[in-house]
């Protein structure tokens, strides 16, 4: 029963991701796109952890940790490029 709840929560989060992709596509400024992609990163981390507990695969948690690090680095790099006009 709890794993069915994990599945429902993951589906709801992926529906949220669709709307975040919409904002990342139409966002008028680069800052909007960075914010939307940061939100997609957070939701993807939660979905990865939920899928890891649904399928009893601990390997997916390592992928989620790596994705956390990569998402933070990407946000920092894009924001630094916006501010300084170079990397």
């Amino acid at each position: 029963m709890t794993e069915t709840a994990f599945l429902i929560a993951a589906i709801l989060l992926m529906i949220n991701v669709i709307f975040c992709v919409y904002r990342a596509a139409i966002g008028p400024t680069p800052g909007d796109r960075v914010v939307a992609i940061n939100m997609i990163t957070g939701k993807t981390i939660a979905v990865m952890a939920l899928v890891s507990f649904m399928y009893h695969e601990e390997l997916f948690l390592d992928v989620a940790i790596t994705y956390t690090l990569i998402g933070y680095t990407a946000t920092i790099c894009v924001a630094k490029y916006l501010e300084l006009k170079r990397l």
Binding site: A5, A9, V35, G42, K43, I45, A49, E58
Partner: protein, 106 residues
């Protein structure tokens, strides 16, 4: 009893994620959207991973979840602050003037 608590934490996390998405879609400019992002997204990830931690208990997967919660609590507000500082000089906000001119002196 523990299962009820797991479900409560999980779906309150999903609720905060949904509130953040509505804020991202509906609020008028990048600073307001950052306001929606940093708070609700951090709280949503924290609640969902806390429910998984309560479901799992202290095993190796639980320790990984603890590390992820701590790391997200540190990095997500930092990323929001950096995006806001990068947008501050150049972005025209929803009142139609530059954010820097309205924000006083620095």
């Amino acid at each position: 009893m523990r299962e009820i608590l797991v479900l409560f934490l999980l779906f309150s996390g999903v609720f905060f994620f949904t509130v953040g998405t509505i804020g991202l879609l509906r609020l008028p400019d990048v600073f307001c959207r950052l306001h929606a992002n940093t708070k609700s997204d951090t709280l949503g990830v924290g609640l969902v991973l806390s429910s998984l931690l309560l479901y799992e208990g202290l095993s190796s997967a639980g320790v990984k979840l603890i590390f992820m919660i701590i790391f997200i609590l540190i990095t997500n507000p930092t990323a929001g602050h950096i995006v806001a500082r990068a947008s501050y000089d150049t972005i025209v906000d929803w009142t139609g003037q530059l954010a820097r001119q309205k924000g006083g002196d620095d």
